[in-house]
């Protein structure tokens, strides 16, 4: 069997699994098209995130453990782009907030300038301390009252500065841009670090981004969440009230409620597939181009590449920004799919480490591998729970009805998920370290 054949079969396997989820309720499948499409949609988004990570790790060997932060920034972009403008917020304090932020940025720039251009010594340390401390207090003096007045406006529903009121699809590229901007800032400071240090620095930066989103209510409503974000597709309720849609649903032999949910989810799946294919095509082209070869040369031997005159630091920054932008796009798509921004739910196990499992299992360095890993691991992430329950039913079938151990085992079955993901990762790293679809 040729490699191409084997790889195609792997994709077919994932496809069959998702189809089986929709068609049958045998074993752990649920037999609902709705659930199959839910898995498919998040699988597509995960595949995009995996491409982003693969570009950084597989192409260039950059160990970024801050994916969660970029995903969350993509989510923030949806709020900033698509929610309606809140004029009251802008007139009461929005402008001052922006001024305060500019002021804060200027302080940092001034501090950087001082370290760069003043000769080292006690005087420099003193000037630096004065600038930073004064900057901080001026910033807080402008910022705090402005935030207070913005957050006081209709706090049950708003209390944030709102967005631009633009079509929600524009938020996807905007999410990419926002993540790219953040990645540029982070890359400028952290990319000089060696691999483990870089990993831990990015992990920390992602936590900082989440902390900001959770606490800066004027920006993202914090843990109060932004709900009811605009959607690119019609609402199910509107479809159900549309006589022509009900008629069409009847002609497909479905009841209008199921038909409308499936219709909307299939619509999302189509849009996500288009984005995924576009990004996959671009990533493939990049990999095959001289640029891609240069990246891999840098990854394999940094010193040699540097000796050949390649600017390793610049290239690393470039690829860090590109990969993070893709994660930002995926984050924006995810928030659009959920129609809500919930900063409290971002958790590194799910949004950083699981994506890493996808990339390694799929095959780092191979874009198709990343896509396969994304879809496959996401399917298991969802389905391990019913599988675990099935397994536990089997294990405990001999035990008495009221047995405490049986009750505990059944209750704990859902925690098999993390264990299984770890096991899959370790098995792949051990027996197929290059992943299911290895790099060519």
């Amino acid at each position: 069997m040729t490699d191409t054949m084997k790889h195609t079969l792997l994709f077919v396997f994932v496809g069959v699994m998702i189809l089986a989820e929709g068609m049958t309720d045998f074993l752990f499948f649920s037999g609902s098209w709705n659930s199959a499409l839910v898995i498919l949609n998040m699988g597509l988004i995960s595949a995009i995130m995996a491409i982003g990570v693969n570009i950084q790790w597989g192409f260039a060997g950059l160990f970024n453990v801050g994916i969660m932060g970029f995903t969350a920034l993509g989510g923030l972009a949806v709020v900033l782009v698509s929610t309606p403008v809140i004029p009251a917020a802008w007139s009461s304090g929005g402008v001052s907030i922006v001024m305060a932020l500019v002021m804060g940025a200027l302080t940092v720039v001034a501090a950087v300038m001082i370290t760069k251009f003043m000769p080292a010594g006690k005087l420099r340390a003193l000037v630096l301390a004065v600038v930073l401390i004064a900057g901080f207090f001026v910033y807080r003096a402008i910022f705090d009252p402005a935030v207070g007045s913005v957050e006081a406006i209709n706090p049950a529903l708003q209390g944030n500065i709102g967005g631009l009121g633009l079509p929600v699809l524009l938020a996807w590229p905007a999410g990419g841009l926002l993540a790219a901007g953040a990645a540029w800032l982070i890359g400028k400071t952290a990319l000089g670090l060696r691999s483990d240090y870089l990993a831990i620095a990015t992990l920390g930066i992602a936590e900082i981004i989440i902390a900001v989103l959770k606490n800066e209510d004027w920006l993202s409503r914090g843990v109060k969440n932004v709900v009811g974000l605009p959607r690119p597709l019609p609402y199910e309720v509107d479809l159900q009230n549309d006589p022509s849609f009900v008629e069409r649903a009847a002609s497909w032999g479905m009841d209008p409620v199921t038909a409308s949910t499936v219709y909307v989810k299939a619509g999302y799946a189509l849009m996500f597939t288009v984005v995924l294919l576009a990004l996959l095509w671009m990533a493939q082209m990049a990999l095959k181009s001289p640029w891609g070869r240069m990246m891999r040369a840098i990854r394999d031997n940094e010193t040699a590449a540097e000796a050949m005159g390649k600017d390793v630091t610049r290239r690393h920054l470039q690829i860090f920004v590109l990969g993070s932008a893709i994660c930002g796009i995926a984050g924006a798509m995810m928030t659009t799919l959920d129609s809500q921004m919930t900063p409290g739910t971002y958790n590194p196990l799910r949004f950083t480490f699981l994506i890493w499992v996808m990339v390694i299992v799929g095959g780092s360095g191979n874009n198709f591998g990343a896509v396969l890993g994304g879809m496959l691991i996401w399917f298991f992430w969802i389905k391990v729970e019913p599988m675990g329950i099935l397994l536990m039913e089997l294990v405990t079938s001999g035990m008495g009805e009221g047995s405490a151990l049986k009750a505990h085992l059944m209750e704990s079955a859902s925690h098999m998920r993390l264990f299984t993901m770890g096991l899959i990762l370790l098995l792949v790293l051990r027996f197929s370290p290059r992943g299911l679809i290895p790099e060519k």
Binding site: Y197, G204, E207, F353, V357, F419, G422, L423, L429
Partner: protein, 336 residues
């Protein structure tokens, strides 16, 4: 202006909690640093090793409690601690045998080890949740306070109270004993010396006949013990919840790195630096300042530099600043 009250308030809200949290972080960071120095990778599974150790200890504590055993005014968990340590050592050695040894023999790159430790992290996290569940577990018993705020006020007649929890006192004392024992071990015993030699220069150590597998085994045993002690102390002082331990990974790494990875003294210093900066930057200074300053200067606001939710953000901001200026930490860590 009342300097004495200001001092008491400062001790009560900043120094005591800072010392306790700093000791917990230092013990955690020592484990991370030892693994980095000897096995030469950043162990992402360390937080979950702490959770596992604490979990075993909790299970034994519950057993002892139901059997009526207790340590008097001290928490019963102290009696269960040795069993927790043994359990964690067993887990660490099994993990090394089944997982890490293969990559050691392959001479895999450090970054591959980090990925492997991610897998171990997932599995340990799953095991802990599987056995004890994801919720909060209480296992503290014994006397709650060494000195309570009310007793202190009655004793001294001051306006401000000083409360020291038993768990806080216990944390600091245990940490001092453990750290002293560890340094004695590393500096005085043969095994400790061979561990240091191996960490300083692997080739030279091998030449002088040090058995690397033995060094690695002892390292895992020590790390497992440190992780269990740190995990139990944290759980006694705050609360036990698997996810909290996973999150502890971040400040622990920050401590180890700020001090310089691979350097035990750095790990301890780093732990206290991170703990005290978290506490001081997120503490509302109003009370202390109101006592400490003349009335005309008394502050209006809370004088809190950042809200408490930014705790993790503080440790990382410090981490990044330190890395920018001293890429191997304050106490010259290793750069493998």
């Amino acid at each position: 202006m009342d300097l004495l009250n200001a001092l008491v308030a400062l001790t009560n809200f900043v120094i005591v909690p800072g010392l306790a949290y700093g000791s917990q972080l230092a013990l955690g960071a020592l484990g991370v640093t030892l693994i980095y120095g000897i096995l030469r990778f950043s162990n992402f599974a360390h937080g979950d090793t702490m959770a596992f150790g604490a979990m075993v200890t909790i299970l034994f504590t519950w057993m002892f409690q139901s059997a009526g055993l207790s340590a008097g005014p001290l928490p019963t968990a102290l009696l269960a601690l040795p069993f927790g340590i043994l359990g964690t050592i067993a887990l660490a050695l099994v993990t090394d045998r089944t997982v890490y040894r293969f990559y050691r023999q392959q001479k895999a790159k450090p970054v591959i080890f980090v990925m492997v430790s991610l897998g171990v992290m997932f599995m340990m996290n799953g095991i802990v949740r599987f056995i004890i569940g994801p919720g909060d577990q209480r296992f503290t018993d014994g006397e709650r306070f060494v000195i309570s705020a009310r007793t202190f006020k009655q004793l001294t007649g001051l306006q401000e109270g000083l409360a020291i929890k038993t768990t806080e006192a216990l944390t600091v004392i245990t940490a001092v004993i453990v750290v002293a024992a560890l340094f004695w071990f590393l500096n005085k015993t043969r095994t400790g010396k061979s561990m240091r030699a191996y960490s300083d220069n692997e080739d030279l150590a091998l030449l002088s006949g040090i058995n690397p597998e033995r060094v690695v085994m002892y390292t895992w045993m020590i790390v497992a013990a440190l992780a269990t002690i740190a995990g139990v102390l944290y759980g006694l002082d705050k609360s036990f919840k698997p996810f909290t331990y996973f999150q502890l990974l971040l400040p622990i790494f920050a401590s180890a790195i700020v001090g310089g990875l691979g350097n035990p003294i750095g790990a301890i210093a780093g732990g206290f630096i991170i703990a005290f900066s978290e506490v001081t930057i997120t503490y509302a200074w109003k009370k202390v300042l109101t006592y400490g300053l003349p009335d005309s200067l008394a502050p209006d606001g809370l004088v809190q530099l950042l809200s408490t939710d930014y705790k993790f953000a503080v440790s990382f901001a410090i981490l990044i600043v330190v890395l920018l200026f001293k890429p191997t930490g304050l106490f010259k860590g290793k750069a493998v």
